[in-house]
């Protein structure tokens, strides 16, 4: 069995002594939003049916609502918003600007996804290299070893690991649509039956997928490391990673349980740290505002050439937000980066330990030669 405490201590040491990893941690925190340990993000409300004041939805009422919406929409883009001195054509142009913003964000999303997997590869390899040779790499070298086909493999592995969640969403969507049509078209009894069936099916599906996702995310740590450290392909990484975790399920399970506990501690610590660092964040917000002010004003000037009223300010704000927020909340992003680097280091060290285990088994006892 591996020694989790030894691994945790070593990862802690690596986190503070190997600062080049922080750069990749920052990218991971920005791109992945803290790759592990997220809880559920539901709002926490309990089901309560309203006391019958809902509008009964029928195909006719939906059609009517759609026509009404179209009418209002057309009116808005012909007349504009006279109260705010915004003409219809200006509003149309603003819609194009929002479209451009969505396109830019899509491109930024792709760039961040690439950066995320390059950083994942870099952190895994840098920690492994440090453990093997004791040498620390520079950020540039880290990028060089991260920028490889392995990053693409990590992406594919992650996609496979997230397949159950994608399937779940599809199942829920289909079930929802079926329930909707059964309620508005079928008899009351059939509608009740379909709703109850959908609730039961939804509950079981969500539960099973949640458990499956937790297990797959645990295994992903090994899949990724086989791919990054052994240079294996996607299928081979999945096979070898699974076999490794299965063979050492006690060590892996223990490490996993400890990491979950650590995740809880981290959540509490992060809340405290976030509250404590609010004054620092206020300072960084001012600094971010100063940094973003010039490009913001330039964008306002640009948008003013074809937009009127307050629309240029909103459009410029949209485009400058991706620059402003990471800078403004830099201390919190740094917290996320530490968490990402620490978690990755722990699993890399676990992988190394587990891999070394067969070599550490004591050799068979040699029988003394008969005299």
């Amino acid at each position: 069995m591996i020694d989790p405490v030894k691994i945790l201590k070593r990862a802690w040491y690596i986190l503070w002594s190997y600062r080049a990893l922080w750069v990749f941690g920052l990218i991971l925190a920005l791109a992945a939003g803290g790759s592990s340990g997220q809880g559920s993000n539901n709002s926490g409300s309990r089901y309560e049916q309203n006391s019958g004041d809902n509008v009964h939805v029928t195909p006719q009422s939906m059609q009517q609502a759609w026509h009404e919406f179209q009418r209002e929409w057309d009116k808005l883009f012909v007349q504009g918003i006279p109260e705010a001195s915004i003409s219809g054509p200006e509003l149309s142009t603003f819609l194009w600007v929002i479209g451009a913003f969505v396109l830019v964000m899509f491109i930024v999303g792709i760039v961040m996804a690439v950066a995320r997997y390059v950083s994942e590869t870099a952190v895994i390899r840098m920690v492994d290299e440090y453990e093997t040779t004791g040498e620390k790499m520079s950020v540039r070298l880290g990028f060089r070893i991260g920028w490889s086909s392995t990053a693409w493999r990590l992406f594919l592995i992650n996609l496979i690991v997230n397949l159950p969640i994608i399937t779940l969403l599809l199942v829920l969507l289909i079930a929802g649509v079926m329930v909707f049509f059964s309620v508005i078209n079928g008899s009351a009894n059939f509608a009740a039956f379909s709703v109850v069936s959908a609730i039961v099916l939804g509950f079981i599906t969500i539960f099973v997928v949640a458990v499956l996702s937790i297990l797959l995310r645990l295994l992903r740590n090994f899949f990724w490391r086989v791919a990054a450290l052994e240079g294996a392909g996607v299928r081979e990484s999945l096979q070898r990673g699974f076999a490794m975790a299965l063979e050492n399920w006690k060590s892996v399970g223990l490490m996993w349980l400890v990491m979950i506990g650590l995740g809880i501690v981290w959540t509490v610590a992060a809340i405290i740290l976030i509250v404590v660092s609010i004054p620092v964040v206020m300072v960084t917000m001012v600094l971010a505002a100063l940094v973003a002010a010039v490009p913001y004003l330039m964008l306002v000037g640009l948008f003013s050439t074809f937009l009127g009223s307050f629309l240029p300010w909103i459009a410029a704000g949209l485009f400058i937000a991706p620059l402003f927020f990471p800078l403004a909340f830099a201390p919190w992003v740094l917290l996320g980066s530490w968490q990402s680097v620490y978690t990755s280091s722990v699993w890399t060290l676990t992988y190394r330990e587990i891999k070394a285990l067969p070599a550490l088994t004591p050799p068979p006892q040699v029988e003394p030669a008969a005299s």
């Binding site: 309560e48 609730i199 506990g261 004591p362």
Partner: protein, 202 residues
């Protein structure tokens, strides 16, 4: 007799000689007993070396781990009650399962609430209703007492509704987290005790 070929015997033994040199050494060996004896001793030495197991070079890290493994350890006492041991490890797993179950229940609940608010379930029979929609008893009482009114009362009602809806989930999550951390703390303490025991015995 030609000159002794001692300096070529190693190469001859390893099969590295060719042509003229090989012929010369073979011819000399055919008639020189001293060189034959030397060749024989080379045979013997080689056999001896083959019999000796060559040590494998290990990295310092593995060497340290090997030494640790060979150090005297307290023999793991076979658990007399395996059921208890199994139960011990099932505690965190069970807590996680409960956590997933609770969150699933809340997710389904949220979906139902959303569907209900969208009017999808409005045609359903009343058995889906879980009770009165308004659970703002405290705020209503406070309002009836005249302590709050207007905006203050509506704010209190919103706050009470939110608290009533969020409190069960938050308290459940916190309870599970506390239980999990307690298990982890006990595991840690057991581990430390075991380590200290080994240290003292060592």
């Amino acid at each position: 007799m030609s000159k002794h070929v001692s300096e070529w015997l190693n190469a001859y033994y390893d099969g590295e000689l060719h042509g003229h040199r090989l012929q010369a050494v073979e011819e000399h060996l055919a008639e020189c007993e001293s060189c034959q004896a030397e060749l024989e001793s080379l045979h013997g030495l080689s056999d001896l070396l083959h019999e000796v197991r060559t040590p494998e070079l290990v990295s310092p890290e593995r060497f340290v781990s090997n030494v640790n493994l060979r150090l005297p350890h307290k023999q793991t006492v076979a658990s007399q009650n395996k059921v208890l041991e199994f139960g011990w490890w099932m505690i965190p797993v069970g807590l996680l399962a409960v956590w997933v179950f609770v969150n699933t229940a809340f997710i389904v609940s949220n979906i139902l609430t959303t569907a209900s608010s969208l009017g999808v379930l409005s045609g359903m029979s009343d058995w889906l209703a879980t009770g009165p929609a308004s659970n703002v008893y405290l705020s209503t009482t406070v309002g009836q007492m005249g302590v709050l009114d207007g905006n203050g009362l509506s704010l209190a009602e919103t706050l009470e509704t939110f608290t009533r809806m969020s409190l069960p989930q938050v308290s459940l999550q916190i309870s599970i987290a506390v239980l999990y951390l307690s298990w982890l703390a006990v595991w840690w303490a057991r581990r430390m005790r075991r380590e200290h025991g080994q240290l003292f015995e060592g």
